[in-house]
């Protein structure tokens, strides 16, 4: 039933769940669902790449399986691992039983200890062995080593995982795979060509307003205009780390929590709330009170 949904209705549905997706993103998601291909999302930090997976799992009412990538992530923590201790105990136990009864052949023991029972499923294997198709989020795939990308290839193209001792495990249900990347390193072409691609940019003014209103419906519309305008202006400044949508929402929550109705009212308080937006020392130095006032004043 999800498959027959057009991309516009998908966009509307997502909006109902407080995720405002651009046309491009909505189409990419729609195709990813209908063609059954993984979707690679790139873009700066804090533009809502991870959020989309959460929204999708809510929308489809399915499980969200998340694999956070990091340097040194290997197959045993991402795909599967044998429960070694349990296997060992089982061998001991079978020996003791066997000695009073009959000897189990090596093949029998082998088949026994390398069975499903002794397999520890890690996120990727878990994702393809579900009854209902889940949403599989492979977060910040660029942080993992290049060799880990190679592990992913089999999963992403054929939705299967080969375990030498057991054979190939086919997906019982095809998960909807979302990969995100912050571009800390270039991904291999092999990985890219197995995925659909969408670049998530910072939202424009109208979209950001829509996001703010979705997330915080009670916010005063004048304040909302100011907040979005300020953040948009701030992104044009020469910053090390530009504030993302998440930061903007934090800031909006902070301002409305403090009962501020107009950001130009009190420069000192305004300046102190910028901790929500500026995340490095250099950026803080870059935006002193004067600049803040200039940016805040320019659109009032």
């Amino acid at each position: 039933m999800q498959d027959t949904m057009s991309w516009q209705s998908l966009q509307c549905e997502l909006e109902r769940l407080a995720y405002v997706a651009s046309d491009e993103l909505a189409m990419a998601l729609h195709l990813s669902m209908t063609l059954g291909r993984p979707l690679l999302l790139e873009g700066a930090a804090g533009v809502g790449k991870t959020e989309i997976a959460k929204a999708l799992s809510q929308l489809q009412d399915s499980k969200l399986i998340r694999l956070q990538c990091y340097e040194g992530l290997d197959a045993s923590t991402a795909i599967y691992e044998w429960n070694y201790q349990r296997q060992l105990l089982s061998i001991r136990a079978s020996h003791e039983v066997a000695s009073c009864d009959r000897d189990l052949s090596i093949d029998e023991v082998d088949a026994h200890i390398f069975s499903d029972k002794y397999l520890l499923k890690r996120p990727l294997l878990e994702a393809i062995t579900q009854d209902e198709p889940p949403v599989l989020l492979i977060d910040e795939v660029d942080r993992a080593d290049e060799e880990f990308e190679a592990y992913l290839l089999e999963l992403l193209s054929d939705f299967q995982i080969s375990i030498p001792e057991m054979g190939t495990i086919q997906a019982t249900s095809k998960p909807l795979v979302i990969l995100t990347s912050n571009g800390t390193r270039d991904l291999s072409d092999a990985l890219r060509r197995r995925c659909l691609y969408s670049y998530v940019d910072y939202p424009d003014k109208a979209t950001e307003m829509a996001i703010l209103h979705k997330r915080d419906p009670d916010i005063d519309s004048r304040l909302a205009t100011q907040i979005v305008g300020f953040v948009q202006a701030l992104r044009k400044e020469d910053l090390e780390k530009k504030p993302g949508v998440a930061e903007m929402l934090d800031w909006a929550a902070a301002l409305s929590g403090m009962g501020i109705v107009d950001i130009t009212d009190d420069p000192t308080i305004m300046q102190s709330t910028l901790v929500c937006l500026l995340k490095t020392q250099a950026d803080k130095a870059q935006i002193p009170v004067e600049v803040t006032q200039r940016l805040a004043g320019s659109f009032v």
Partner: protein, 395 residues
């Protein structure tokens, strides 16, 4: 906008689509039969009468990089929207605004691009040959992949080119830094089993190795020290090399950068400035302040005295970017390098002139330095810099 060529109106939509794929390929996007198949499939699930929908769908399927993503709309318009068959390329768009020299560069780039797109690598080589003949400079060989890598670094002044140089350097630095010890240490996230520890622990469990311990080869990263000659004779290369230097230094605290001409200064901190262009401009200002000739020997001597004791050891690689034209007597270079070599470091000399045809190290300074070098290589194109990787890994 008229859409006479749009899919539904053309007979044989699959042929038109195939043509579109070829168009994308000719413009540098990586699309293959898979993309074509998926695009055709996608068209069944969307409203093919809406150009907007088709554009979005093709974009999601065919663009696979941020760079192609921004380019896609133009390519789509050019093919389907009566925009003509004009070939777009990112370099062309962004460079056109520049000065005259820039214009000629971008022209060459797009020319080379076109011939590359036709799938004949030999043609691309011919192109760069012709180009070097035009300028009356030495012949550059080994430009394989894309135009930009093969262009002599003197002509590379655009932000894209500088960024590319930085990227190449970062890769080189990473390949050098990634060294592991030959010995193994116990580690939680190791790749191999630590048998000694397992056996010892298994005594407690009656000989059964219940707990598995791992071990790995710990990392022994090399520290890179880069010395860049910014004298008059090197000035044409200096901006690109500065970008390259910045890539080397990047965020790695163990890497140090120095500039020299008649004297030597440490610039590692400036290099770690996040804004490339600002850093380069700051450095250019510093560099302009000196001028005059090159005193490689004296500079290396100063380096030995002031910095080497602290930062050069057996795990260091010293990279010198210079053309070897020195106003000091050549013995000074030899002496300084000999002294530096005694610290157990490896010394690489990258000479932009070496990439030229018929180059011989006739500059006396260069000839004197040769016996002390672990690697003496060309550095006049990005290709030649990138080609250093296997050598650096072995060092």
């Amino acid at each position: 906008m008229k859409t006479t060529k749009f899919i539904h109106s053309a007979d044989g939509s699959s042929e038109r689509m195939q043509g579109f794929m070829a168009h994308l390929r000719a413009n540098g996007l990586r699309v293959g039969p898979d993309e074509f198949r998926y695009s055709m499939k996608a068209l069944e699930t969307i409203d093919v009468l809406s150009p907007h929908d088709v554009r979005l769908a093709c974009k999601a399927i065919c663009a696979s990089k941020a760079h192609g993503y921004t380019q896609f709309d133009d390519l789509f318009d050019a093919y389907w929207m009566n925009g003509g068959y004009e070939k777009f390329s990112v370099q062309q768009n962004s460079n056109q605004a520049g000065s005259d020299t820039r214009k000629s560069f971008s022209q060459e780039v797009s020319d080379a691009d076109t011939s590359n797109g036709s799938g004949d690598p030999d043609e691309a080589d011919d192109e760069s040959e012709g180009e070097s003949a035009q300028h009356g400079e030495g012949k550059l060989t080994g430009s394989r992949i894309r135009n930009i890598e093969g262009v002599d670094l003197r002509q590379m002044m655009t932000p894209e080119a500088l960024a590319r140089a930085e990227q190449v350097a970062r890769k080189l630095a990473a390949s050098m830094r990634d060294r592991r010890s030959r010995r193994r240490r116990a580690s939680q996230r190791g790749h191999t089993l630590n048998m000694r520890k397992i056996m010892r622990a298994s005594i407690a469990t009656g000989g059964d190795p219940i707990h598995l311990f791992k071990q790995r080869r710990p990392e022994r990263p090399v520290n890179v020290l880069a010395l860049l000659d910014v004298s008059g004779s090197m000035m044409v290369y200096s901006r690109v090399f500065l970008a390259f230097l910045k890539g080397l230094v990047s965020n790695e605290q163990r890497t140090e950068a120095y500039l020299f001409h008649t004297s030597l200064i440490q610039v590692s901190d400036v290099m770690r400035d996040s804004d490339t262009l600002r850093a380069i401009n700051r450095l250019s200002l510093i560099a302009q302040g000196f001028g005059g000739g090159t005193r490689i020997g004296a500079s290396l001597n100063l380096f030995n005295q002031q910095y080497a004791a602290k930062s050069v050891n057996g795990r260091s690689v010293v990279i010198i970017f210079s053309d070897g034209y020195d106003t000091d007597p050549p013995e000074l270079i030899a002496k300084a390098l000999k002294r530096l070599k005694k610290r157990g470091c490896r010394i690489i000399w990258l000479n932009p002139l070496k990439g030229w045809k018929d180059y011989a190290p006739v500059a006396q300074g260069m000839a004197a330095a040769l016996p002390y070098l672990d690697l003496f290589a060309a550095a006049n194109t990005l290709d030649s810099l990138a080609a250093l990787k296997p050598h650096l890994v072995k060092l």
